[in-house]
């Protein structure tokens, strides 16, 4: 078992009223799963993903990640945990504009304090694997959206995470580019990476092995 959410609640107080963003979420994710979180706008999909990714906290409940109780961890240990095991892919790619493709890929390794030679090898390997060796010295602005997302996925993968969290990874892409990215995810999944994606598209959800439906913060 990779992670487990037990009775997770998350709310905000607004004008004396408590508005629930997540309500009693119970979710167990096994290694090797490919889960799609679906639901209408505002149903809490991204919030759930952020909670899983430890970027956001919650108000009640338990979260265990690889036998660590995330809800009891200190900020720094939590950061170490997701640095080690989780890679993020965003809808708007979120590459660092000032860095080239190669340097963007290198960034997570720098934060993990991987040694120089090893780092170079890993970056070269990743460029090779994603077929973007020719683009390694370009800046994000010089790439198409699909290529940027490709780099985004490559960056998420480079530190060998167990889990990839993707928040509408194809939201800004055309259908052909979307298909390529989804095929890539599927392939990664077969190689053993666990993937959780948030998506609006039934077609994309179909790539996954399981669908979690959310409505107003509840799983249905």
């Amino acid at each position: 078992m990779l992670l487990q959410l037990n009775n997770i609640f998350k709310w905000v107080n607004s004008g004396g009223q408590r508005i629930f963003l997540l309500k009693d979420i119970n979710l167990q994710v096994e290694e090797g799963e490919f889960i799609s979180i679906m639901g209408p706008s505002g149903s809490g999909k991204s919030t759930l993903l952020n909670v899983i990714g430890m970027l956001d906290g919650f108000d009640e409940g338990e979260y265990n990640f690889l036998d660590e109780s995330v809800h009891n961890l200190k900020e720094k240990l939590r950061s170490n945990l997701y640095k080690e095991y989780i890679g993020f892919v965003f809808q708007s790619y979120h590459l660092l504009d000032e860095l080239t493709v190669q340097e963007n890929l290198e960034m997570p390794l720098l934060y993990k304090k991987v040694k120089g030679a090893e780092r170079k090898a890993m970056v070269a390997d990743m460029l090779d694997r994603f077929n973007i060796v020719g683009k390694k010295d370009l800046f994000p602005a010089q790439l198409s959206g699909g290529q940027q997302q490709l780099v985004g996925v490559a960056r998420a993968l480079i530190a060998n995470p167990k889990l990839i969290l993707a928040d509408e990874p194809t939201g800004n892409l055309n259908s052909q580019q979307s298909e390529e990215i989804m095929e890539l995810f599927k392939q990664l999944n077969t190689e053993g990476v666990t993937i959780i994606q948030v998506t609006h598209s039934e077609k994309n959800a179909a790539y996954g092995s399981r669908i979690v439906n959310l409505l107003d913060g509840r799983m249905i």
Binding site: L55, Y82, K83, E98
Partner: protein
């Protein structure tokens, strides 16, 4: 990782060129100013430190009480040094009497050049650790010898190998050059000492032995204390060394002379004495400038912080991404610190260039010769510290602020721009402008005070007056002939000789007695000895009685007093009263003149006595050129006559106006410096708000577009963008007014004759600040206001 940070830093710099330019520009101006001030402060603090015996040398000071007024001066009678040597010898290694430094004409066989120097006792060479190029430090033992500096030797003989040559000092007999010393460095009290002649020679030559006593405070006395002796102990021990040697009933004893030592370390910056106690001096000015330097640097750092936090929106996304791919807060802090470090390093390099460019102007204003000490280790150590501190100050806030962003907030785009930082940014702007406005107030006040003093009615007329110093007896002996010949020219109105100039009656005398004088009254008068016609020449205004006249032979024993003197002496009907002046005789008061400003125009008029004199005290020949006549022709006429009667001398003259202007050089220098800094402070602050307003206009680009579509005018948009800044500047003015008033009020109290701090000074400063802000912001806000709305709406 470090390399990566540097890379990002440089790419960010190049990407936002305008922003980087403002950032580096502002910071480097601030740093350059601080470096200049730092060099100046260092120079001031290292004054005299080149002397090996820096910690042992002292000047002997004398404190006297004149009618309740306590004065401490370096003037000493020549009798003091022997007393210190004989009775207090255990304390001192050397005790020397010296004259004050003055200009003397040195004549070698062919060359004659005027140089400054003094007559001193032999010990002075050891005391000042003179570096002898030729001869030895014993060179002054022989009273017919003289020591020359390298400069003097070179210009007189064309070589430093001058030992054995003879030169004439003034019109006195030949002295044998017994040594040549390396010129003393510029940054010390003896830097203009180009020759040292033996005191014994002067004493004999001028017959001092027979004519000067304990009352003639004409000389200075220097000591070097014995090893292991405490300076303050020695100073306390010699306290009564003069008083012990005076007749207890004499006028001099009533002046209660107290002797003390003033250590060399304090000569330059702690030269002020109040009530006989050393209370400070120009160290105040060092502090003031030092503080201004730090403040200007701080202003520049504030700009940096402001501009960088304003960029936070642009950097927020980056922070978010970095956090999600694993960066911890401290790594981000480190990254932003490195970025500010890079900027500071570039700014430092630019500032060194600025310093080199500004150096000569700065030196002119400060009357120094400063330059960057490239080869000094300390300079580089200080520079590294300086860069580190500046990066820390300017980088700390942006780093902590930026690195604290929550990733999901900034990545979702719900990042609230107005969060937190705005109030602090406002506070910083207020701080900057409060300082700039205070400096403007200071500048205006200083210039106004100078102008006010410069226009002070003097009570005499110096127009067309010039003087020629009397350097030899020849002229004096033939004064009447010289006078008549000068007067032969149509251009000359009048000629008279005097002991001091009317612009500076520095001679003081005591030992006067008159009817009704309180026996305990220890008086001190300024005295001016002159030949006939002097009064008419300066156009003094006679209030009672008459001036000196050739018709009355008895006028050789007559006084003319100024109004202050009459009041000082308590005379009801001064005309016809008699005043006894020591052994010189009984003088009849024949006239009273209106007060004239014959000393510093900043201070009150002193009691002054004018008397006729045709003897050896005369030092200057004053000549008045008729108005509307060309001074050039008059001068060539005068020069001819001086050449005739004194062919050995180079003819030199000075207009009294120039002499008078010297009172203003110090204040003019201060005024220039302060205005220079005020301009810099404003420039830096304006760069800051220029950047900020650009940022705000950019941030509100879309809003402005929407407003324009809805029908807003250019004016209303300009108002929208400008009013916040103008409000901030107004707040800073409200702070600056009391602060400026407090400091300038303190400053102006130092002057006896002073302008009032009127309201318009503050109004002008406020107006100036508002106007510059207004212009700076308008550039940005008008640009934003006239942009086509379609453009701004399409960008989203």
């Amino acid at each position: 990782m470090f390399k990566n940070y540097l890379k990002i830093a440089f790419r960010n710099l190049f990407k936002r060129k305008g922003h980087s330019f403002l950032n580096i520009g502002g910071l480097s101006i601030g740093m350059a100013t601080t470096i200049l001030i730092g060099m100046w402060v260092y120079d001031e603090l290292s004054y005299n430190k080149d002397f090996e015996n820096y910690n042992e040398i002292a000047q002997v000071m004398q404190t006297q009480t004149f009618n309740g007024e306590i004065k401490t001066e370096s003037n000493q009678p020549m009798q003091l040094a022997p007393v210190l040597r004989n009775d207090y010898g255990d304390y001192f290694k050397h005790v020397v009497t010296s004259t004050f430094t003055f200009d003397m004409l040195l004549t070698a066989v062919e060359n004659k050049i005027s140089y400054s120097g003094f007559f001193s006792e032999p010990g002075v060479t050891e005391m000042l650790s003179l570096k002898m190029l030729q001869g030895t430090r014993d060179g002054l033992q022989d009273p017919s010898s003289i020591l020359l500096s390298k400069t003097a030797a070179l210009s007189l003989f064309g070589t430093v190998d001058a030992v054995g040559e003879t030169i004439k000092v003034g019109s006195a007999s030949n002295l044998l050059v017994s040594g040549v010393y390396e010129d003393l460095p510029e940054n010390n009290s003896f830097s203009n000492l180009k020759f040292i002649a033996p005191w014994e020679f002067l004493k004999k030559n001028q017959d001092y032995e027979n004519r000067v006593g304990w009352g003639n405070n004409w000389f200075q006395t220097f000591v070097q204390i014995q090893d292991g002796v405490n300076m303050s102990v020695a100073s306390a021990a010699i306290k009564n060394s003069k008083l012990e040697n005076l007749d207890a009933e004499s006028g001099m004893a009533k002046q209660k002379p107290v002797i003390q030592l003033h250590p060399m370390a304090k000569w330059h910056l702690y030269s002020r004495f109040e009530n006989g106690i050393n209370t400070g001096g120009t160290i105040d000015r060092v502090w003031l400038l030092g503080i201004i330097g730090v403040i200007i640097l701080l202003l520049a750092c504030i700009n940096f912080m402001n501009l960088n936090t304003a960029q936070s929106v642009k950097r927020a996304k980056e922070v978010g991404i970095r956090k999600t791919i694993g960066s911890v807060k401290y790594q981000l802090i480190f990254q932003f610190m490195i970025e500010s470090f890079v900027v500071v390093c570039i700014a430092f390099t630019v500032s060194l260039v600025l310093v080199i460019l500004a150096q000569s102007t700065f030196n002119e204003v400060t009357n120094k010769s400063l330059s960057i000490p490239w080869s000094s280790y300390n300079f580089w150590i200080v520079s590294v510290l300086f860069i580190a501190i500046t990066s820390l100050i300017s980088g700390s806030y942006p780093s902590f602020y930026l690195s604290s962003f929550k990733p999901i907030k900034v990545l979702k785009g719900t990042f609230n721009r107005k969060e937190g930082v705005v109030p602090l940014r406002k506070v910083l702007v207020v701080f900057q402008f409060a300082i700039s406005t205070t400096l403007i107030i200071g500048t205006i006040t200083i210039y106004r005070q100078m102008n006010y003093v410069q226009n002070r009615p003097l009570g005499y007329n110096k127009e067309g007056m010039l003087y020629v110093p009397i350097t030899t007896k020849d002229i004096l002996e033939r004064f009447e002939t010289v006078r008549e010949e000068i007067l032969r020219s149509q251009d000359i109105a009048n000629v008279a000789a005097s002991d001091v100039l009317v612009t500076g009656t520095f001679t003081t005398n005591s030992g006067f007695d008159w009817k009704g004088k309180d026996p305990d009254f220890a008086e001190e008068f300024n005295t001016l000895r002159a030949t006939h016609d002097f009064g008419e020449m300066i156009n003094w205004e006679i209030k009672e009685g008459r001036g000196f006249s050739r018709e009355y032979k008895s006028d050789s024993l007559a006084f003319v007093l100024n109004e202050t003197a009459v009041a000082y002496m308590g005379l009801k009907n001064p005309i016809g009263e008699y005043v006894q002046w020591g052994d010189s005789g009984k003088f009849k008061v024949i006239g009273v003149v209106k007060d004239m400003v014959t000393r510093s125009p900043y201070s009150a008029v002193k009691p002054t006595i004018f008397t006729l004199h045709y003897g050896r005290f005369l030092n200057f020949i004053n000549i008045k050129v008729k108005p509307n006549r060309s001074p050039k022709e008059a001068l060539s006429h005068i020069e001819g006559i001086f050449k005739k009667y004194n062919p050995e001398r180079t003819f030199s003259y000075t207009f009294l106006d120039e002499e008078y202007q010297q009172y203003f050089t110090g204040e003019a220098r201060m005024g220039k410096l302060i205005s220079f800094f005020a301009i810099l402070a404003i420039l830096i602050s304006c760069l800051g708000i220029f950047g900020l307003s650009a940022f705000i206009a950019e941030q509100r680009f879309k809003e402005i577009g929407i407003r324009k579509v809805l029908g807003a005018s250019v004016y209303s948009i300009w108002k929208l963008l400008s009013k916040d800044f103008l409000l901030l500047v107004m707040i800073s003015c409200i702070i600056a007014i009391p602060v400026g008033y407090y400091y300038m009020n303190e400053w102006i109290q130092d002057f006896n004759y002073r302008a009032t701090l009127s309201w318009w000074i503050f109004a002008a400063a406020v107006f100036g600040s508002l106007l510059t802000t207004f212009l700076t912001i308008s550039v940005q806000s008008i640009k934003a206001a006239i942009a086509k709305p379609v453009k701004s709406l399409r960008t989203e």
